[in-house]
């Protein structure tokens, strides 16, 4: 029993050493301005991975893809939590999210890592949609309403943006 646990810990240690940096990067791209909360999310993400590893279905994708989505979902949950929004109260109102992204003025520095760096290469109207969907976790419907454009257009633009993104990642 102890040996089993030790082996698991060893494997999990390996998992952490290998993937934590990459996952921390995506967390920081979503929780852009609070290192302490980003670190909390990283911790929560690995605890979730440990607990939910049996729900990972390898026929549906690679382990990293699964972990990346666990990290992204946890980060977005944090973004939307009351605690986070209270800490942001004086900096940015929730309904200013889009403007902040679109203006690209105040966030220039933190946007300079990871996928966000690649997003810079996209057309602004595409970039904004990916920002809202991927990094802010808004649904296509919410974005359509927020931006006052048809749902179909949101979907098409996001798909096209992702296809361009794919080309940049090659």
């Amino acid at each position: 029993m102890l040996a089993l646990k030790e082996r698991n810990n060893q494997a999990f240690g390996f998992l952490y050493d290998n993937y934590a940096g990459a996952l921390y990067s995506i967390i920081k791209q979503i929780i852009t301005d609070n290192n302490e909360l980003a670190s909390d999310v990283l911790q929560e993400v690995f605890i979730n991975i440990w607990r939910k590893i049996e729900t990972y279905d390898q026929t549906k994708g690679r382990l990293f893809t699964w972990m990346l989505n666990v990290a992204r979902n946890a980060s977005i949950d944090m973004l939307r939590s009351k605690g986070y929004q209270n800490s942001q109260k004086n900096q940015e109102l929730p309904d200013n999210v889009y403007k902040g992204v679109a203006n690209q003025t105040t966030q220039q520095n933190v946007d300079n890592i990871g996928l966000k760096k690649v997003l810079e290469k996209l057309k602004p109207e595409h970039r904004v949609l990916v920002e809202l969907a991927y990094f802010k976790g808004f649904t296509h419907e919410e974005i359509a309403e927020m931006m006052a454009i048809p749902l179909g257009t949101v979907k098409t633009r996001i798909r096209n943006a992702l296809l361009q993104l794919r080309e940049y990642l090659k």
Partner: protein, 273 residues
């Protein structure tokens, strides 16, 4: 649906990045089970995301790893809120370790049982398969030898019946047994004698029919047979000469000389050499 268009529609990227809707995901999963090339395209994008993410990896806060191991090593706490996870973990530590150990133990035991079960099933299936193959081989062997024998019989019959040297003797019933009948095929060149029983009454177990050749008035034993051999060509003893053939009922195994009062059938050779 055109698969190529589907692959190029952006659905793969949407799916992998977690932006696809519930129904899109379900459809994608479904199509993946049917189209390996879709899975390959998904994998390719996943790999490029993955290698990019590794390039962009950031150094993690050093204390996090220790905190995570503290949390998972001593507790299986269910609800860690992100704001203050360490405190909550500690609070739950005292409540849930038994349950988590029990669960882990159960999962470990279940895995072992499942593994053993799978091995047993595997070996059973393998054994059954071997048995079937074995049986099939034996049947094939049995079929082959039966076919061989039949082929030989057919050849022999063709030879016997078609040969110009063969004399056919129609054995007819006597007064004692008017319904008895048989055919004798006598090949005068090879001296082979064949008998085809057409209708001979069944005898008690201690009795058999005996075939005789009458050569210059003297009977010569050509062997015994049973009524059950009906419709089969029986090879009897050879004889170089014969003016007639006779069938008598004798004790099991035959007699040195025929019991003529029990003669069942007699046939004279019409066409003598």
């Amino acid at each position: 649906m055109n698969l190529k268009d589907y692959i190029e529609s952006g659905i793969i990227e949407s799916y992998v990045m977690g932006l696809a809707s519930e129904s899109e995901r379900a459809e994608f999963d479904q199509l993946c089970t049917q189209h390996p090339e879709l899975v390959a395209a998904r994998r390719k994008f996943e790999e490029s995301i993955e290698s990019f993410a590794f390039e962009q990896a950031l150094p993690t806060p050093p204390e996090v790893k220790g905190k995570i191991f503290e949390a998972i090593g001593t507790s299986g706490s269910r609800s860690t809120t992100s704001l203050n996870p360490p405190k909550i973990d500690k609070m739950e530590t005292s409540k849930t370790p038994v349950r988590s150990l029990g669960l882990l133990r159960f999962v470990a035991a279940a895995s072992v049982v499942l593994l053993i079960g799978m091995f047993v099933l595997y070996y059973q299936t393998k054994q059954q398969n071997a048995d079937l193959v074995n049986t099939q081989d034996r049947l094939k062997l049995s079929y082959d030898s039966t076919k061989n024998i039949l082929d030989k019989i057919v050849d022999e019959q063709k030879h016997v019946v078609g040969d110009s040297n063969t004399t056919v003797v129609n054995m007819v019933g006597t007064k004692v047994a008017p319904k008895s009948s048989a055919n004798i095929y006598w090949d005068s060149a090879s001296t082979n004698v064949y008998l085809v029983v057409k209708n001979m009454p069944k005898l008690p177990n201690d009795q058999q029919y005996q075939l005789w050749a009458l050569i210059d008035g003297k009977p010569s034993d050509l062997g015994v047979f049973d009524a059950t051999d009906s419709r089969v060509i029986l090879k009897m003893k050879n004889t170089k000469k014969a003016q007639a053939f006779a069938i008598t009922i004798e004790k099991h195994g035959g007699s040195p000389s025929p019991t003529l009062e029990k003669m069942q059938s007699l046939g004279k050779i019409l066409q003598s050499q």
